[in-house]
């Protein structure tokens, strides 16, 4: 028999206490535990990607093909039919890729615990990893598609250094907000399976309430012309995704009609707004994480 090799594992907390009380989330300790299990997260993301493309000849190329086809189709459609923005394909993709990260995370995150019932019932590991892995998978797709999109932008269009710094802020806001909401739906869906259907509908409404296919400047001019227009406009801006998508578009889209399309705010205002969303999403994440953590002890039983 071979002797054991390798360092002792540092997987499970040194002393674990399990009581009837729903455990209280201690952020620092939990983050350390999650860090210890990072290998599981990476492996689950790898697994999902592998399973997603198993049996397909092109594999991940399908992910890359997606934005290429979008660019081609919408450039053509915009030329023929006319569209909300001058370089419509660029405008659309700037927002759509970010939206897809959000909506794909939510849709697949909602079923992440349920569809891994086999693991949850038999193996002990921090359950957060399941929804986080779905965000991870969406993130890989987002990264690949963004690469294609950036390559296209760089060739056809160029980047503007004066606004591109908004991109990382918008990205952090998007990621925090996505993780927060995904944690919540994945834990609630274990008990209320209705959520799967509800999310599909909610995302459809949310998509059209968010300036992705249309320019937010037009929403502004339409709303502001109405009585109580300023109030309506503020209500519209309560949607954090409007800010986040607006941030991505402002960072990436700078055609000469940008002023007629993009969010009618200065980059400073936009950055401040995104900063608020980052903070709020952080708080939201803490809240939904607590909900998830409290419920996760009973997942094995509920499934």
């Amino acid at each position: 028999m071979q002797p054991f090799r390798g360092a002792p594992i540092a997987a499970v907390a040194r002393t674990a206490e399990r009581t009837s009380e729903p455990p209280h989330l201690r952020l620092r300790q939990r983050i350390r535990e999650l860090w210890d299990y990072r290998e599981v997260l990476l492996n689950l993301v790898r697994k999902e990607l592998k399973v997603k493309y198993t049996g397909s000849v092109l594999g991940a190329v399908w992910s890359l093909l997606n934005p290429v086809v979008f660019l081609a189709v919408f450039t053509f459609v915009a030329k023929v039919l006319g569209a909300a923005a001058k370089d419509y394909a660029e405008f659309l993709l700037a927002g759509l890729l970010a939206w897809n990260l959000f909506s794909v995370s939510l849709t697949s995150g909602a079923i992440s615990v349920i569809s891994n019932a086999n693991l949850v019932k038999k193996v002990s590991f921090p359950r957060e990893i399941l929804p986080l892995a779905t965000v991870g998978v969406a993130l890989v797709d987002f990264g690949l598609q963004s690469l294609v999109f950036f390559a296209f932008l760089a060739i056809a269009y160029g980047f503007s250094l004066s606004v591109i710094w908004l991109y990382p802020i918008a990205f952090v806001a998007l990621l925090l907000f996505t993780v927060a909401v995904t944690l919540w739906v994945s834990s609630m869906n274990v008990r209320y399976r209705d959520l799967t259907h509800l999310i599909g509908l909610a995302l459809l409404v949310w998509f059209w309430l968010t300036p992705i296919v249309y320019g937010i400047a037009r929403v502004h001019s339409t709303l502001i012309a109405k009585p109580h227009g300023a109030l309506l406009w503020r209500v519209y801006l309560l949607n954090p995704m409007a800010w986040i998508i607006g941030g991505f578009q402002t960072a990436l889209y700078h055609s000469d009609d940008a002023h007629d399309v993009l969010i009618p705010l200065s980059t400073g205002q936009l950055a401040a707004g995104l900063g608020v969303i980052v903070l709020a999403s952080g708080l939201l994440l803490y809240g939904t994480w607590r909900v998830f953590f409290g419920l996760s002890g009973d997942f094995a039983e509920e499934l």
Binding site: M1, Q2, F4, R5, G6, A7, P8, I9, A10, A11, V12, R14, T15, A16, E17, R18, T19, S20, P22, D36, Y37, E39, V40, L42, N43, L44, R46, K47, K50, V51, T54, N118, L119, V120, K121, K122, V123, S124, F125, R191, Y192, R193, D194, G297, D298, A300, E301
Partner: protein
């Protein structure tokens, strides 16, 4: 010595729903769904010391697996608490972390990460895992094409190559072929020698007795017995016996009835276990409800695994009962028993000489135990005398 696992007044309740309310509407109307409480564990308390090997035994549904899942942190206690120190690996079901679409190699990495190994550490033990599982040619095949035996081997190979301080094993040593089982047992013994804490759930009572330092027997969620494996296993066997008595398999036309059988040492009822080479007497009392001519009394011995071991009858021994009307007693004197360690079950029956009519059979109603000689692995006992002479 410090405790690796402390279980204090642990209770676990399951809600059994007729139909589990999984939608919002059903939840809102929850008043109408009837939930019944089922206590899988009640006030269970015990400790497992560091380096100790604890066997958990009990009937099906006694709460063993639930207890293991609570210790592993998969289920939350309803009352009480579990405190557990040290890095822990649970092997609650073989191949639980496997994904059918992934290859053997990918699954090894996935499974090892669940058990707490990093990628680099898994690289280090990967070859050992493959060698242990004997699946060298199949590691690049998706495990959906594996046979269940192959899955079992790969799962166990992963589990025994991680380096935990506390290991929880649920009834997985019972699978696989005999050679592989042997290697798994070797591995468990190595773990034991290395001072790791082991909790094993098992139905194999002899294995529990041979391997563990201490045993806990659960019955309907309660700790029924706790202590030395020998005592707890004996208690377990007694409850099996009692249980069997309630459903004793008996049959026959009852022209002749067996009033009772007993095992004697000399003329006294047998007390305690026999040593290999002891003699034992099987005594059977009969009563004829109707006069019958020349019935035959027979007996058979089965081991704990229900394998037939030996049997004989009065006809074979050249004894006749003649015209039976009233009561009669038959004694079989068994010479030095050639058995070693284990429980033996006795079936007695009375039937017509041509075996066409079975008057009464008591199937494995009586039992006796033979001790294993300390430190020996004998399969049978043969009386031996040794002589020395000069040439």
């Amino acid at each position: 010595m410090t405790a690796a696992i402390e279980v204090q007044d642990l209770s676990k309740r399951f809600r059994i729903y007729r139909e589990k309310p999984t939608s919002l509407k059903q939840r809102l109307l929850a008043g109408r769904t009837r939930a019944e409480d089922f206590w899988a564990l009640r006030d269970v308390s015990f400790e497992v010391a560091e380096g100790e090997f604890l066997a958990l035994i009990g009937h099906n549904g006694s709460g063993k697996s639930t207890l293991l899942k609570v210790i592993a942190g998969i289920l939350r206690p309803t009352q009480g608490l579990v405190r557990q120190r040290g890095r822990m690996a649970g092997l609650l079901e073989l191949g639980a972390g496997f994904h059918p679409e992934l290859t053997g190699r990918e699954n090894v990495y996935l499974n090892a990460s669940f058990l707490g190994l990093s990628r680099r550490e898994t690289d280090g033990v990967y070859d050992d895992i493959v060698a242990f599982a004997e699946l060298g040619d199949f590691m690049e095949t998706a495990v959906k094409f594996y046979s269940s035996g192959m899955l079992v081997r790969l799962g166990f190979a992963c589990a025994v190559h991680v380096d935990p301080e506390v290991i929880l094993i649920d009834e997985v040593l019972a699978v696989g072929d005999e050679a592989f089982q042997g290697r798994c047992l070797d591995r468990v013994r190595t773990f034991q020698k290395e001072g790791r804490t082991i909790v094993l759930v098992t139905h194999a009572l002899d294995m529990a007795r041979q391997l563990s330092d201490r045993a806990v027997m659960l019955d309907h969620g309660l700790v029924h017995a706790i202590g030395s494996p020998d005592e707890v296993v004996r208690e377990m066997r007694l409850t099996i016996l009692r249980h069997d008595l309630e459903f004793a398999r008996e049959g026959g036309t009852r022209e002749v009835e067996i009033l009772g059988g007993s095992l004697l040492r000399g003329l006294d009822p047998l007390a305690g276990a026999l040593a290999p080479g002891d003699c034992v007497t099987l005594q059977v009392d009969l009563k004829a409800n109707e006069p019958v001519d020349d019935p035959v009394v027979s007996f058979a011995l089965h081991d704990a695994a229900n394998n037939y071991v030996f049997g004989s009858d009065t006809a074979q021994q050249g004894v006749g009962l003649g015209w039976l009307d009233g009561k009669r007693r038959v004694r079989f004197q068994l010479g030095p028993v050639p058995f070693t360690g284990g429980q033996y079950w006795v079936t007695v029956g009375v039937h017509s000489r041509d075996n066409q009519r079975v008057y009464h059979v008591q199937d494995q109603r009586y039992s006796f135990e033979v001790r294993q000689i300390e430190g020996r692995k004998d399969q049978a006992y043969v009386p031996v005398t040794a002589e020395v002479e000069d040439l």
